[in-house]
């Protein structure tokens, strides 16, 4: 990892607690020249830059083991898709990436998830700070019962943002490809927007606190095909500045948008315990043209069972 190119890599999150607006203005964000840096690093023979280095991750809810030993690397400026049948643990893994599972009673993890080299489950790490840097977009659009403007401004205000809020709202909405559609409706209720617009508003809201990773849990499952296409288009644009991990049941969506795909399955033990397991993780092209594992092939070709 090139420390100069990415100061986040070694600094602790506490030391990084800059105001979101400052980051949005450029500090701490990968410079434009670093866009698609993975390819450039590969050319130079340097290792690719990782957002998450997951080693031996196991997730439990009480005595129930939801996810078996998972080791994978999520790369910077890429879209990584997690696919698999219901109960395979893909959403649990996604929620581990920003400690969302902390909010569930009895949930715990073993193993490590390093975010830019920092163990996010480490003792001194503040989960709120983790969630600010690693944003989440949910299955159903869930705007606050507030105006379009306040939906975006809410997070930064709580974080004590002192910059120009109008600019921040405009920039966030522009990045989420929604500005032109809502610029005259900023004071109207977010509920007045269409489903697809609401979902892009949620993406804009996630962006407003300057994360560098967006986690998406089936972000298009309640949208029509055109709204879905807009979100997919937006995701690809967003990889310029962010890294994205998406859980999707729509395999064609994983094939269309992602750079890498992880396939999870569910193992049922004699005791009836159902534990998710990572079967194969490779480039999306390999997964969909020539997967190495028969279980992956059976799933993506629709031969479940």
């Amino acid at each position: 990892m090139n420390d100069q190119a990415n100061p986040d890599a070694t600094a602790s999150p506490e030391a990084q607690a800059t105001a979101p607006g400052e980051r949005l203005a450029g500090r701490g964000r990968p410079a434009a020249s670093l866009v698609y840096s993975n390819a450039r690093r590969a050319e130079a023979g340097e290792p690719e830059s990782l957002i998450f280095d997951v080693q031996g991750l196991k997730a439990f809810y009480g005595s129930f083991q939801a996810v078996a030993d998972t080791t994978m690397a999520i790369r910077e400026h890429e879209i990584t898709a997690l696919i698999g049948p219901s109960g395979c643990g893909k959403t649990t893994v996604l929620r581990c990436f920003n400690r969302m599972n902390d909010l569930i009673e009895g949930a715990r993890v073993e193993g490590t998830i390093r975010y830019h080299g920092i163990d996010i489950y480490g003792d001194k790490v503040d989960p709120v700070e983790v969630r600010r840097r690693i944003g989440m977009v949910f299955q159903k659009p869930n705007p606050f019962p507030k105006s379009v403007f306040d939906n975006i401004a809410f997070g930064p205000r709580i974080a004590g943002y002192k910059g120009n809020m109008n600019d921040l709202v405009q920039e966030s909405l522009t990045r989420a490809a929604l500005w032109d559609e809502v610029k005259d409706k900023l004071r109207e209720s977010a509920y007045a927007l269409s489903g697809g617009q609401q979902q892009r508003l949620c993406i804009a809201r996630a962006i407003a606190t300057s994360p560098d990773v967006l986690l998406m849990d089936e972000p298009c499952s309640s949208l029509d095909p055109i709204a879905t296409l807009r979100i997919e288009e937006l995701m690809i644009q967003l990889t310029r500045d962010y890294s994205i991990v998406i859980v999707t049941h729509n395999m064609q969506q994983a094939a269309r948008v992602s750079d890498r795909t992880a396939f999870f399955t569910v193992d049922v033990k004699e005791t009836g315990m159902r534990t998710g397991r990572l079967v194969e993780f490779d480039t999306t092209e390999v997964i969909f043209t020539n997967p190495r594992q028969k279980q992956t092939e059976d799933y993506i070709t629709g031969r479940f069972g």
């Binding site: 094939a255 969909f288 043209t289 020539n290 092939e297 993506i300 070709t301 629709g302 031969r303 069972g305």
Partner: protein, 234 residues
């Protein structure tokens, strides 16, 4: 999907049945061409003009079977969005269909040559070599069609090796033709050299069929090994 009472493995039964029908369609197309090639071989060696005409007429059946096969593949790709092994299989069968259809056309070209020459009056030696050449080329083609039926991943390299026999017979045929051409009308000599060329091409198509099937099964092109190394696996 969870509301469907059938076990999950049966839900795509129609899709699997269609894949199977497509495979049978490709094998059937190959059989039609082989059958026609058998007639051609007889017409060629024994100067049977009626049989040569039947070869030409039968090509319509081949073309219809080819178009039907391609339509089925196009439809299943559009409606079922196949991926991985299913996608490789369908793409391969499109290519295989094309190889077979082209081979069928070459058979017809030979038959037209017979009619133009009102049959070839071959010397015993020339007829002997030509008979062996037709036999070897059509044998190879039959084994290409077998590779489709059995989805044999090893067929490509094996057929490629066996194609050397066809190539050396073509060489032998040309050499002999050159010495025996003296007593022959120049058109006849040209027409015969074409027949040699067409048989060589039919054998090449058979090798290609084997390679396409290899790709369907393994995801690797034997032919494109050095390019694959540069670009990574498919």
């Amino acid at each position: 999907m969870t509301d469907d009472p059938r076990p999950p493995s049966e839900i795509r039964h129609r899709f699997e049945a269609e894949l199977d029908a497509i495979k049978r369609g490709a094998v059937n197309l190959g059989s039609l061409v082989l059958e026609n090639a058998g007639r051609l071989s007889e017409a060629l060696l024994e100067s049977q003009l009626d049989l040569a005409q039947r070869v030409i007429d039968a090509d319509d059946v081949v073309d219809r079977a080819y178009i039907d096969l391609e339509r089925r593949i196009f439809k299943v790709i559009a409606l079922q969005q196949p991926v991985a092994g299913d996608l490789r299989f369908l793409i391969s069968i499109i290519r295989v269909g094309h190889e077979i259809e082209r081979s069928g056309d070459l058979v017809v070209n030979c038959a037209k040559g017979i009619l133009r020459q009102q049959g070839f009056r071959l010397t015993g030696r020339l007829q002997g070599v030509l008979a062996r050449l037709c036999q070897a080329a059509l044998d190879l083609f039959a084994r290409g069609v077998d590779a489709v039926a059995s989805l044999d991943p090893e067929a490509g390299p094996r057929l490629d090796q066996e194609d050397d026999t066809v190539d050396s017979l073509v060489g032998e045929f040309y050499t002999l033709l050159a010495t025996e051409a003296e007593g022959m009308h120049v058109d006849t000599a040209i027409e015969l050299s074409r027949v040699g060329r067409y048989m060589e091409r039919i054998a090449d198509h058979a090798v290609n069929i084997g390679e396409h099937i290899g790709f369907a099964v393994t995801g690797i092109f034997p032919r494109h090994g050095d390019i694959d190394e540069q670009q990574g696996p498919v």
